[in-house]
Amino acid sequence: MTEQITGAQALIRALELENVDTIFGLPGGCILPAYDPLLDSHIRHILVRHEQGAGHMAEGYAHVTGRPGVALVTSGPAATNMVTPLCDAYMDSIPMICITGQVPTSAIGTDAFQECDTVGITRSVTKHNELVMSADEIPLIVRQAFHIATTGRPGPVLIDVPKDCLQNMMTWHWPTDEEVLESLPGYKPNTKGHSRMIKEAARLILDSKQPVLYVGGGVLKARAADALRELAELINTPVVTTLMARGAFPDSHPLCLGMPGMHGNATAITAMQKSDLLINLGARFDDRITGKVSTFAPDAKIIHVDIDPAEQGKVRRPDVPIVGDCRLVIEELVKTIKEMLANGEVQADISAWKSRVSGWQEQFPMYYSPNEPGEALKPQFCLEKLHELAPAGTILCSGVGQHQMFSSQFWKFEEPYTWVNSGGLGTMGFSIPAAIGAKVARPDRTVWAVDGDGCFQMTAQELVTASVERIPIKVAVLNNSYLGMVRQWQEMFYDERYSEVYLSPELPDFVKWAEAMGCVGIRVESPEEVEPAIALANSINDRSVVIEFRVDAGEKVFPMVPAGFGNDDVLLHPNQNDRREFLR
């Protein structure tokens, strides 16, 4: 059967066949032909107010579902507006498909209206990108894109489609799995770990007296939370969850130490520093975790499980490198360790290590100075109350800065895929569009976006999208009228010389702005107003709600490992500093 359809029809049909249920986008000249068949499709299109919003919504969607988020935008400025979300998705290994329009093939390279070299510009911020050269190629390129975005180390794939390729007729053909694999001879991700390496890892684990499970975002990408829990309980080993892995292991679990790194808690940081074996599962020794690399976990042997071979040895040379999918490798590891134990082998005694770790936990709980009467509201208090009052299964999204760190520190994550943030790229303005994408994917869940006043002003316009499309999210703006994290660095490392970080306490009027966008706006200035405001927000489900919390500008994120310093030099909250010697 040779069915003739347009390239645009082929594109939308291909997306339907890839089980796409939602597209985030904004039409324009070159992509116009693709928007016509969309009218006849069951795919829901969310019309954004800025293309960057479409990209972050697609990321939010992918974060909470594991399925690729899809963004559809036009050429030129729309494509350049997608660069930030593409890079964000690339850094955090988020599966995403971005389809951009392009000027007709005959006009490419002529500086035509709204032309830019999209594949050139996005080459280094995508896992792969492809310029379509004829309508006939569209189905195969779409299938390749979904395959590449979702297998191996996930990531964003961009498809650039010239207008004539959308308009031209083509003979419909849906490629088989075999055709897709054959068309990609250079792409064969390895998912199954090497069995000899897994045995070596099991041996190191049983011999270790001071082990730590160092869990990264790869565990979530591999849907390996259950496997991780089985492994952790089998070997009774403390777990740290990086910023990208919050929720991969329940914070309430007795083995959970929480987040390590630059703003991690003292126990998680110190346990890694003093360990004799770091079992890295899907983390990448990011500079925010290691601090100064030469002083990072100096006595630790390293098991590194990562699906990306390029991560092995990139920062820290592993003693046992295992290239593979975290879930498959962890399950194999559990099986191997159980066999060894059944054969009479014994795990080294780690009770002394465990009690040392508990000692740190007792001495160094997460801490902030509580509100004194008449003092400005503490942002940490707002986070605690947000968590306390949140309905079960609430998804938390955050922007980037102090409020992001407070979120990770003071929210308690109990299940995977309830935490959405921009870890690698650190994109201010991420939270509102990401929260919208998350809410579209999980309409059954309450979705809170925690934002700073700086971040909010970068992407707030997407709340109009949320209102028009009836996607009710909740936003907590922690307004300290500063670019708070920059202010913190200037206070601590630039002799309190505050340069260009003061925004404004009164402008914009967040409540009026929220109302103008169709949301409920609430202002909170004192601690006693916090709970009622949050309860009110949680009770409103027919529209989005923005609560502006006027918070203490002087509050800093502690603990902190200053940039360029080692983790042993972690700065504790001033009230905990007198106990410093306990960290030795």
Binding site: K127, R153, P189, N190, P309, A310, K314, V323
Partner: protein
């Protein structure tokens, strides 16, 4: 007195032989991985292989071994890259082609022709004031020839960049990077 080659010294450059899908944009993907890190590509040769669906890119770079290892791993991640081998310069054959136009008066032309003959080069074109010669051979041989031609005054010179294959002797050893394909 016999000359003993110093086989323990580290090679001064690295030769990567990269098998890629023969399609638009692949060279840009490959070269940008070097450019991003600030490494200059010393020479580059690209052409289709015996199978026209694939091309071989021969890249010569002066990079320390450890950053090179990372670049090679990143190259592997490119979807269009099928295979990468690092060729040990001591265990591979390298060839390059050079063409040069030399300004030479007719009375001195014989000297240049003689040089070309000694090096087993070819005379491609002869004019009243200039002569164009070509030479194919190992990059070292081309360096020597180029040096000698300089004395006459080079008007234009073009080299292709080297191509390389592993030697066939029993010690031939490539170092195929097989530690897992892209992800």
């Amino acid at each position: 007195m016999s000359m003993t080659p110093n086989t323990t010294s580290m090679p001064s450059h690295h030769i990567l032989s990269v098998l890629v899908q023969n399609r638009a944009g692949v060279l840009a993907r490959v070269s940008s991985l070097f450019a991003r890190r600030g490494y200059n590509i010393f020479s580059l040769a690209v052409a289709p292989t015996e199978d026209p669906d694939f091309s071989r890119i021969t890249i010569v770079v002066d990079v320390e071994s450890s950053p090179l290892e990372q670049i090679v791993k990143q190259l592997f991640k490119l979807i269009d890259v099928v295979k990468i081998s690092e060729l040990d310069p001591r265990r591979s054959v390298e060839r390059e082609l050079m063409m040069a136009t030399v300004r030479v008066a007719s009375e001195d032309r014989g000297q240049v022709v003689e040089l070309a003959n000694i090096f087993e080069g070819k005379i491609l074109a002869v004019g009243t004031e200039a002569i164009t010669v070509s030479l194919e051979g190992s990059p070292d041989k081309l360096d020597d020839f180029e040096e000698l031609l300089r004395g006459y005054g080079i008007v234009e010179l073009q080299r292709t960049g080297r191509v390389a294959l592993p030697k066939l002797d029993k010690e031939a050893r490539t170092r195929p990077h097989k530690n897992g394909k892209a992800s």
